[in-house]
C-alpha cells in the first residue's frame, strides 16, 4: 500500500511480484519488490537478512520506491508490523498482504558414467555370487628335487568354497598322505 501526493492519504494498493517493478497509477512513483523472506531474521554476525525457518511467521519484503529523480524509500517492510517502516517522508509504503505461487524445482543432471557404474554393479554381483556360492576345488602340487640335500620337496596348495567341509576333509587326507 502506497500513500503520498497525488495518491492520497487512503493510498493505493499495488501488486508487485518479487523481482519486478510497478508504477503507481497516476504518478511517476515506481515500487520495486527486491526480495521476499517468509520468517525474517537479521543475522548480526554476517549483517545480512535471512529466513529463520520455512514457515511464514514474519513475512518481509525489501522494497525500493523511487520517482524520476530520487530514491524515496529503500528497506525492509513487514506484514505483521505495518507501521514500523513508515518513514517521515512525503510517501510511505506498507506491506499489506501477499499470495504464494506454486512452483516445482527440477534438477537436471548429466551422468555420462552411469553405464560404467551399471557394468560395475553387474560385475560385482556376479563376482560375489561366484565367490560364495559356486562350488570349486583346485589343488596345486609342486614336486621338485632339492639338489643340495637330494630330497624330494612337495609343496601343495588349494582353493575351495568357504564352507566346503568335504574339501577340508580331502585336504587333511592329502596332507596326511603326503606326510607319510
Amino acid at each position: 500500500m502506497v500513500t503520498g501526493p497525488k495518491i492520497g492519504p487512503v493510498g493505493k494498493r499495488v501488486l508487485v511480484n518479487v523481482g519486478e517493478e510497478v508504477t503507481v497509477k497516476g504518478t511517476s512513483v515506481k515500487v520495486r519488490n527486491e526480495r521476499f523472506i517468509s520468517d525474517f531474521l537479521f543475522d548480526t554476525k554476517t549483517k545480512t537478512a535471512k529466513s529463520r525457518s520455512s514457515s511464514h511467521d514474519n513475512p518481509a519484503i525489501f522494497v525500493t520506491m523511487r520517482d524520476d529523480v530520487d530514491t524515496l524509500f529503500s528497506g525492509w517492510i513487514f506484514k505483521n508490523f505495518g507501521m514500523m517502516h513508515h518513514r517521515d517522508t512525503t510517501y510511505s509504503v506498507s506491506f499489506v498482504s501477499y499470495a504464494l505461487r506454486q512452483t516445482t524445482g527440477l534438477l537436471v543432471k548429466e551422468n555420462p558414467g552411469s553405464g560404467l557404474i551399471w557394468l560395475g554393479i553387474i560385475g560385482m554381483s556376479i563376482g560375489v555370487i561366484l565367490v560364495f556360492w559356486v562350488p570349486r576345488r583346485r589343488i596345486w602340487i609342486s614336486i621338485r628335487r632339492d639338489e643340495t640335500t637330494g630330497k624330494t620337496v612337495v609343496c601343495a596348495g588349494g582353493a575351495f568354497l568357504k564352507d566346503d567341509d568335504a574339501a577340508l576333509t580331502l585336504w587333511e587326507t592329502i596332507k596326511v598322505e603326503l606326510g607319510s
Partner: protein, 270 residues
C-alpha cells in the same frame, strides 16, 4: 471386521509361539517326537504366514514390503524359510531349536507395528526394484538371524559349560560351521540385495546411487561387520571371537531396520 491377512498373521504368531515353546521343551526333555511335533507346528505357522503375505499382496496389488510391519513379516517368513533349509537341507535339528524363537521374536515385533496397507504407493516405491531390493535384503538378514541363533548357542555353551541342557547342543565346531554356512548364504544376498540393488534403485528414484541416508550408512556398517568377520576368519579367528562379531552384525542389522524411526531420512516412508 478384521482383514483376512491380519487374522492369518495373528494365527501364525500363535503358531510360532507354540513352536518356540515346543522347541524349548525338546531341549529340556529331549524326546525326538516332541521335536517333530515342534517342526510340524512351525510348518503350519509358516504356511499361515505365507497365506497372510499372499492374501495381502493380492489385496493391495503388489508385494507387501512397503511398510515396517510388512517388511518384518517378510523378515520372519525368511527366517522360517531358513529354519527348514537348515532342518531339511543340513540336518541341523538342535540349531533349529534356537531359530524358532528368533522367528517368534520377529513376528512379535511385527505385531506391534501399524498394519494399515499402503494402497497408493509414493512414486519412489513404484518400481520392480522394490521387490528385488527388499526381498533380497530380508532373506540376507534372515540368514544372519540363523547365524545369530547358532552363535547364541555357542556363547551359551561356553558360559554354561556344566548345564544339563547345553550338553545336547552341537559341538563348538558344528555350531561354528552352521553359523559360517548361514553367513555365507546371507552375505551375498545382503550385498547384492541391500547394497547393489538398493544403489541402482536409489539412482532411479532419487537421482543418486548413494546419498548417505541413515539407513544406507547403517546397512554399510552391517556389511563392514560381516566383511570383517570373513577377513578375520582368514586370519584364523574361529569360534567365540567370530561368534561375537556375527552377533554384533545381526544386532546392527536390527538397528538398521529401526534406524529410520529414530534418524528419519529418505527411507522413512511412513
Amino acid at each position: 471386521m478384521v482383514p483376512v491377512d491380519i487374522t492369518l498373521f495373528w494365527w501364525s504368531l500363535i503358531g510360532f509361539g507354540a513352536a518356540s515353546l515346543c522347541h524349548i521343551l525338546f531341549l529340556v526333555i529331549s524326546r525326538r517326537p516332541l521335536y517333530w511335533c515342534a517342526s510340524g507346528v512351525m510348518a503350519a505357522a509358516t504356511v499361515l504366514l505365507t497365506a497372510a503375505i499372499i492374501v495381502r499382496a493380492v489385496a493391495i496389488g503388489h508385494l507387501p514390503v512397503t511398510n515396517m510391519y510388512e517388511y518384518l513379516s517378510l523378515f520372519a517368513w525368511s527366517a522360517a524359510f531358513f529354519y527348514f533349509v537348515f532342518v531339511l537341507g543340513f540336518r541341523q535339528y538342535t540349531v533349529s531349536v534356537f531359530i524358532a524363537p528368533v522367528v517368534f521374536m520377529l513376528i512379535v515385533s511385527a505385531s506391534l507395528l501399524p498394519k494399515e496397507p499402503n494402497q497408493q504407493l509414493v512414486p519412489a516405491l513404484q518400481s520392480v526394484w522394490l521387490q528385488i531390493h527388499v526381498t533380497l535384503a530380508a532373506l540376507g538378514e534372515a540368514a544372519f538371524g540363523v547365524a545369530f541363533a547358532a552363535n547364541c548357542m555357542f556363547i551359551l555353551k561356553k558360559l554354561v559349560a556344566s548345564g544339563s541342557f547345553v550338553k545336547r547342543f552341537p559341538s563348538f565346531d558344528r555350531l561354528d560351521i552352521v553359523s559360517h554356512k548361514a553367513i555365507i548364504i546371507g552375505y551375498p544376498l545382503f550385498t547384492v540385495g541391500a547394497l547393489f540393488a538398493g544403489a541402482v534403485w536409489a539412482e532411479q528414484a532419487w537421482g543418486t546411487f548413494w546419498s548417505w541416508d541413515p539407513k544406507e550408512v547403517c546397512s554399510l556398517i552391517v556389511w563392514f561387520i560381516f566383511t570383517l568377520y570373513f577377513h578375520l576368519r582368514v586370519r584364523g579367528w574361529r569360534g567365540g571371537k567370530s561368534a561375537v562379531i556375527s552377533i554384533a552384525g545381526f544386532i546392527a542389522a536390527l538397528l538398521t531396520f529401526y534406524s529410520n524411526m529414530f534418524l528419519g531420512g529418505l527411507h522413512a516412508y511412513n
